[in-house]
Amino acid sequence: MRYTLRHLTRYEYSGPATLSHNEARILPRQLPWQLCSDTQLIINPGPIGLSERRDFFGNRVTYFAVEAVHNSLEVVVTSSVETWPRPAQDFFSGTGWEEAAAEMSCAVRTGNRDSIEARLFVLDSPFIMRQPALKEYAQTNFTPGVYLHDAVLALNKRIFDEFTYDEDSTTLATPLREVLETRRGVCQDFAHLLIGCLRSMGLAARYISGYMETSPPPGQHKLLGADATHAWVAVFIPGWGWQEVDPTNGCVPDERYIVLGWGRDFADVTPLKGVMTGGGDHKLTVAVDVIPAPDLPDERQLF
C-alpha cells in the first residue's frame, strides 16, 4: 500500500517559554516491509542544533532546541510511505510458550544472538512492571503445552473483547493495575497491558508506536486529521522473530499499519518530549492523516 502521511503535534503554553530542549521520535523507520521517502520535518518556531541519530533501539531521533521566546511549539512531519505484507510465520507456529519462556531465561549463558537481544524486553520498564495480577490474567490463555503463537493471539483477542476503548478513562499516568481493574483504556494502555502480561509470563514483548489507516464510514470522504497515533505490541518468537499483534483491534497488523519505532514501552518512543524554561501549563493538539495514495480525498492538495 502507498500512503501519504502527515503528523502534526502542537503544544500551546499558557505563558512564554524562553528555552526548550526537545527530542522527537516521529520519523518512520525503514523496514523490510516499509519504505519511506520524501520525508519532511517542519518545526515552528525555528529550531537550533537540529540533529538526527539512531537511538539504542534503532529508532530515528531528532534533537532540537528552541531558544527564541515562544508560546507554542509545532512539529509537522510529512512523508510518503509504502508498505508490504509482513512476513508470515506459520512455519514456526509450533513453538510452545514454555519453550519460548525458557529460552528467554537468565539461566541461558550462550545462545542465539537474537534471543539474547530480546531478553531486554522481558524486563520491567518505566511504565510496565511485571506483577502477579497480570500473570493471573494471562494464564487463562497460557495453559501447559499451548503454542506461543496461539496463546498470544488468544490473549490479544481477549483484551479486545473484554476491554472498552474509552478516551476519558485513563491518562499517561494511569497504572496498569487500574487499567486491569476498570477494563478501560486507550491503545497505549492495551499495548502496555498485553506487554505486561507477556513479560509476567517470562516472554519478551516490545511496544510499537505508529499509525493505522482508518476507513471512513461507507460513502463518505475521509476527514483530515481523523486518524491518530497508534500503539501495538510485538512478541518475540525464538528462532523466528518478532510477531506483531494489536490488542486495541484484536487483530494482527497488516499493510495498513505504519511503524514509527519501538522500545520497551511508551517512554522509549514518546513522539515529542521536551524540557523547557517557563511556559506554564500547556495544551496538546495532535492531528494525524494516513491517506491511501490511490484514493486521495480532495483536500490532498492542501499539503
Partner: protein
C-alpha cells in the same frame, strides 16, 4: 605459646593489647616483631612517646576542624554536626606490595575502560554470553541514551577511576568496589596528608613516602587536554550537587586547589549546543565538566525527567563533542557490584590476561543456580539491591517482616540482587588517643587511577593508567561506606629512596583565568554572597540585642511583677507574646517562691531563641548564613572560613546553654567571631563584584535593622526612655562614641544625630546609604549605554534625599510633641520602604531566577 610481645619494652607499652589475635597482621610479623616497612615509623613513634602522640593527634584534629573538613551531609542542621577523626598513624604499604597493587589497579582500569567501550558499542560481551543482559540493562547506571546504534564516535570514556581495596585475613588483596562516575576522596587524601605533615612535621619530612601532588597536576593536564586544541584556555568547571551533598567540602576544596570554577546545575545552561555558565557578565562557555553527580540525574531531557539537579540538553551537547564530561555519562554501570563475579572471564576475553586483583566473592542472583545457593543459606551472605545503592541486607540483622519482604523481592526480581560473602579483614594498627596505645582496626583503602593525558585520543585498547601513590583509608568493617566511617587515615606508599619534597601548596596547575571574580562570577554565587551578607548581619544584630536583653534580665529584680524594659526587648526580638498568649502563659507558669511569673516568661522566651527549634532563633539564622557561605566556600579565604567554623561550634553549643550568664558569654563570642569574619572578608576578598554583593546584602540588613530599632526605641516602645536608648547604643556599639561626643545624658535628638544623620559614623543610616550607593553604582550594568538610572540607584537616591531633606528642627522635643513624633515616624517609614525594595531590585537585576524546568510529557507513573 607465642611470645606475648616484641623485644622492645617501650614498644610493648605503646602496643598495649594490640597483639594477640590471629589472621594477617599488617604491622607485626608472625613472630610478633614489626615488619620491615613499619620499623622506621614505629621507632619514631616510640621515641616520641604516647603523650606526644596524643598531643599531635589533637593538633591534627584541630587543624582538620578549623578547615571544616567533613563528610557530613547535614552539617547546616545544628544538631547533626559530626566530622571524623584523623588517625596520626598512617597505613603503610611496602614497596613490594605497592608494585603488585599498582599493576593490579592498572590492569583493572584498562579492563573497565574496554568493558565500558564495549557495553556502549558492539556489546560483544553480552552477545557472546559473557555478561547476562539482565544484569546490564537493569542497572540504573546503564544509560540507553548513551548507547546509540550504530554506536558513534563518542563512546563514554573512563578517565578517572577509584577502587576500594582491602587486605583480607589471609593477607590477600581484594577489591570491594569500583567508583567510575565521580570517585570521591582525592581531595580528602590530600587534605589528610597536608594536615598530618603539619602535625608530625619530622616524621613526614624524613620518611621515604611517595608524594601526591603530581597526581593532581596530572589530573589537571588530563582534563585540559580533553578540550583538545579547541581553545587556548579551556574552561573547566567542577559540577557539584550543592552544599547539601555529602561530599560538598571536597568539591569546594578540589575546585579551589585545581583552580576550577565550582558550579551547580542552576549555573549551567545549554544554548546553541554549548554548555555555558550563567555569570554576571552573561554566558561563559564551558569546555570540560568534572561532574560530581550520578548518571541518572544529569539531564532531565534524556535521563531521569524528575531531576532538579540536571542540565537539560547536556547529553546532546556531550554527544556532539561540544563539552566533555568526566567521567562520561554512562560510566556508572561499571559500579555494578555483581560484575565482580564476571570480571575474571571478561579479563580473559577483553585483555587476554588473568585478572590480578581478585574481587570479593560475589554471586549474581539472576543466575538461578546462584539464587538457589543464596536462598539455601541466606544468613551467610550480604545482599545488595542495585536499585538501592549503599544499602546492604544481612538477614541476621533484620526483622522477620523485613526478611520476608526481602525473600519475596529476591523471588520476583532476582536479577537486581548481588550476594557478597562477608569478609574478614587483616588487622591494621591505629593509634587511640584515649587509651594512648595502638588498637586493632580493619581498614579499607580507596586508591585512584587516571588515564595518561597523551592516551586520550588513542584507541581504548591502548589506554594506560597511572595510579595515585597513596589515597584515602578509613576504618570500618569491610564494605562499610566511607561516609559512615568515624576514623580516616593517610596512606603511605614507601619508596626505595627519600622522595624530593613537592610543595602541596597551591601552585599554578594550569592557566590562570585573569578575570576570576570579575564578570564571570556565576549569578548564583553573587546571590549566595548577598544572602550570606544579609544573614550574617542579621545574626549580628540579633546576637547583640539578645545579649542586651539577657543583661537586662540579670539586672531586673526577679520578684518584681512588672518587668520594665523586657517587653520592648521581646518586641525587638520578635518574641513578644500578644495579650491573649500573655495571660494564658502567665497563668500556666504558676507560683514560684523566688521569681515572678513575668520574669520567668521573659526568661523562657529569651532563652528559647538559643534553641535549634525556634524559627527565629539564632541557630536557625546561623544555618541560613552557613548554607549560603558553604555555597561560596571557594570564594572565601581560609581564615574567614575558620571563623565560620568557630561560630558553628558556638552555635552547636548554644542549644545546650542553660543559664543566662553562659548565654550572654556565648553571644559575646559570636559577635566577635562575626566581626572577624566580615573583617577578613573585607581584607582578603578581592574588591570585585562578589565582595560588593556581600557588602550590599550586609548593609541593607543593617540599615533596616537600625531603622526598626530607632522606630521602636523612640516611637513605639511601651517604656521609652534612657534604659531603652542605652540598649540601642549598645546594640549598635555606639555607647562609647556617644559618651565621648556628647558627654551628657542620653537624649533622643543626639541619638538621632548619631545614628541617622552623621555620615562619618559607620553605624549611621547616612553612612550606610552612602556606602550602598557607591557599591550599587559599581555593579555591572544590565542595560547598555543608557543614561537612565536603574531602579537600585533610584531607590538609594530616594532614601538619601529623604534623609537629606529632613528639617531637623521638626524633630526636636520628641518626648513631648506629637507632631515631632509623627514627622519621625513618616521619615523612618520613608527610609524603610525603599531599602526593603532595594533588596528585591538587586535580586531582580543580577541573580538568575532559574525556574525548575518543566516537562512537556509527564512520564511519572504509578505501579
Amino acid at each position: 605459646m607465642q611470645p606475648s610481645g616484641t623485644n622492645d619494652p617501650a614498644l610493648n607499652d605503646l602496643l598495649g593489647d594490640y597483639p594477640g589475635h590471629c589472621g594477617h597482621d599488617e604491622l607485626l610479623s608472625p613472630d610478633r616483631q614489626p615488619r620491615a616497612h613499619w620499623q622506621a615509623l614505629v621507632a619514631e613513634f616510640v621515641a616520641m612517646g604516647a603523650d606526644t602522640l596524643v598531643a599531635r593527634s589533637e593538633e591534627a584534629q584541630s587543624l582538620l576542624h578549623e578547615n571544616g573538613v567533613t563528610f557530613n551531609p547535614y552539617e547546616d542542621d545544628p544538631g547533626q554536626l559530626r566530622s571524623w577523626r584523623l588517625d596520626c598513624l598512617p597505613c603503610v604499604i611496602s614497596t613490594d606490595d605497592w608494585l603488585y597493587l599498582e599493576a593490579g589497579l592498572r590492569q583493572r582500569s584498562r579492563l573497565l575502560a574496554l568493558l565500558l567501550d564495549d557495553l556502549y558499542g558492539e556489546r560483544n560481551v553480552i552477545n557472546e554470553g559473557l555478561l547476562p543482559p539482565e544484569l546490564v540493562y537493569t542497572h540504573p547506571g546503564f544509560l540507553f541514551s548513551a548507547a546509540d546504534s550504530p554506536s558513534q564516535m563518542h563512546r563514554p570514556l573512563l578517565i578517572f577511576h577509584g577502587t576500594d581495596v582491602i587486605r583480607d585475613s589471609q593477607g590477600q588483596w581484594q577489591v570491594l568496589a569500583d567508583w567510575t562516575q565521580s570517585p570521591a576522596g582525592v581531595g580528602y587524601a590530600l587534605e589528610n596528608r597536608i594536615t598530618l605533615s603539619r602535625a608530625l612535621p619530622g616524621v613526614y619530612r624524613d620518611a621515604p613516602i611517595k608524594r601526591l601532588a603530581s597526581f593532581l597536576q596530572a589530573q589537571h593536564r588530563c582534563l585540559a587536554s580533553l578540550a583538545g586544541n579547541q581553545r587556548q584556555e579551556p574552561n573547566i568547571v567542577l559540577w557539584t550537587p550543592g552544599p547539601g551533598s555529602p561530599g560538598y567540602f571536597e568539591h569546594a576544596w578540589l575546585a579551589n586547589y585545581m583552580n576550577f570554577q565550582l558550579v551547580e546545575g542552576d549555573d549551567l545552561v545549554v544554548r546553541d549546543g554549548q554548555v555555558a555558565v550563567r555569570t554576571l557578565g552573561g554566558l561563559h562557555q564551558v569546555d570540560v565538566i568534572m561532574r560530581q553527580i550520578n548518571d541518572p540525574w544529569c539531564d532531565p531531557l534524556e535521563l531521569r525527567p524528575d531531576s532538579l539537579l540536571g542540565v537539560p540538553g547536556l547529553m546532546q551537547a556531550a554527544r556532539s563533542g561540544h563539552v566533555h564530561i568526566v567521567n562520561a555519562l554512562g560510566a556508572g554501570v561499571l559500579e555494578h557490584p555483581a560484575l565482580a563475579a564476571f570480571l575474571p572471564n571478561l579479563c580473559q576475553r577483553l585483555l587476554g590476561e588473568t585478572l590480578m586483583l581478585r574481587g570479593r566473592d560475589a554471586l549474581w542472583c539472576g543466575d538461578p543456580k546462584a539464587l538457589d545457593q543464596v536462598r539455601e543459606s541466606m544468613d551467610e551472605w550480604v545482599l545488595r539491591d542495585i536499585t538501592r545503592p549503599g544499602k546492604a541486607f544481612r538477614v541476621d540483622q533484620m526483622s522477620l517482616d523485613a526478611v520476608q519482604t526481602l525473600r519475596l523481592d529476591l523471588q520476583t526480581r532476582p536479577h537486581l540482587f548481588t550476594a557478597q560473602k562477608p569478609l574478614q579483614a587483616a588487622v591494621t594498627p591505629g593509634f587511640n588517643p584515649s587509651s594512648k596505645t595502638f588498637e586493632r582496626q580493619s581498614t579499607t583503602l580507596r586508591l585512584f587511577s587516571l588515564i595518561e593525558a597523551d592516551d586520550i585520543s588513542k584507541p581504548v585498547s591502548d589506554h594506560v593508567f597511572r595510579i595515585m601513590p597513596g589515597g584515602l583509608a578509613w576504618v570500618g568493617e569491610p564494605g562499610a561506606a566511607l561516609m559512615k566511617s568515624r576514623v580516616v587515615k593517610d596512606i603511605w606508599v614507601l619508596a626505595d629512596a627519600p622522595q624530593p619534597h613537592v610543595s602541596m601548596l597551591r601552585q599554578a596547575l594550569g592557566p590562570i583565568l585573569v578575570t576570576r571574580d570579575g564578570k564571570d562570577l556565576p549569578c548564583r554565587v553573587a546571590e549566595s554572597l548577598f544572602w550570606m551578607g544579609r544573614y550574617g548581619e542579621r545574626l549580628d544584630i540579633r546576637a547583640r540585642l539578645l545579649r542586651e536583653a539577657l543583661g537586662r534580665l540579670l539586672q531586673e529584680s526577679p520578684q518584681e511583677a512588672v518587668v520594665t524594659l523586657l517587653p520592648d526587648l521581646l518586641t525587638a526580638l520578635g518574641v513578644a507574646p500578644d495579650e491573649e498568649e500573655l495571660a494564658e502563659e502567665l497563668a500556666a507558669i504558676g507560683e514560684h517562691p523566688r521569681f515572678s511569673a513575668e520574669y520567668l516568661l521573659a526568661r523562657d522566651r529569651l532563652l528559647h531563641l538559643l534553641s535549634d527549634r525556634a524559627p527565629n532563633g539564632l541557630p536557625m539564622t546561623f544555618s541560613h548564613f552557613v548554607r549560603n557561605s558553604r555555597a561560596v566556600r571557594d570564594h572565601l579565604g581560609d581564615d574567614a572560613w575558620r571563623s565560620v567554623g568557630s561560630i558553628r561550634q558556638r552555635c552547636n553549643n548554644i542549644a545546650r546553654t542553660k543559664g543566662v550568664v553562659a548565654g550572654q558569654r556565648l553571644l559575646e563570642a559570636i559577635v566577635i567571631d562575626l566581626a572577624a569574619f566580615f573583617g577578613l572578608c573585607n581584607e582578603t576578598m578581592p574588591h570585585h563584584y562578589g565582595w560588593r554583593f556581600l557588602d550590599i546584602g550586609r548593609f541593607i540588613e543593617r540599615v533596616l535593622g537600625t531603622l526598626q530599632l530607632l522606630k521602636l526605641a523612640l516611637l513605639t516602645a511601651n517604656q521609652p526612655g534612657i534604659p531603652l536608648w542605652e540598649v540601642v547604643l549598645a546594640t549598635t556599639d555606639n555607647f562609647t562614641v556617644y559618651r565621648r561626643r556628647y558627654r551628657s545624658q542620653l537624649h533622643p535628638s543626639a541619638i538621632l544625630d548619631l545614628l541617622l544623620f552623621d555620615e562619618t559614623n559607620p553605624r549611621s543610616v547616612g553612612y550606610m546609604l552612602k556606602r550602598l550607593g557607591r557599591q550599587v553604582a559599581r555593579l555591572p550594568s544590565t542595560a547598555e549605554n543608557t543614561s537612565y538610572r536603574n531602579l537600585e540607584n533610584r531607590l538609594i537616591i530616594q532614601a538619601t534625599s529623604t534623609l537629606h531633606l529632613v528639617d531637623i528642627d521638626s524633630l526636636v522635643d520628641l518626648e513631648h510633641s506629637e507632631e515631632a513624633r509623627d514627622t519621625l515616624m513618616a521619615l523612618l517609614d520613608d527610609l524603610i520602604e525603599p531599602m526593603a525594595e532595594l533588596s528585591n531590585a538587586v535580586s531582580h537585576s543580577h541573580f538568575s531566577h532559574v525556574e525548575a524546568p518543566r516537562q512537556l510529557v509527564n512520564m511519572e507513573v504509578g505501579p
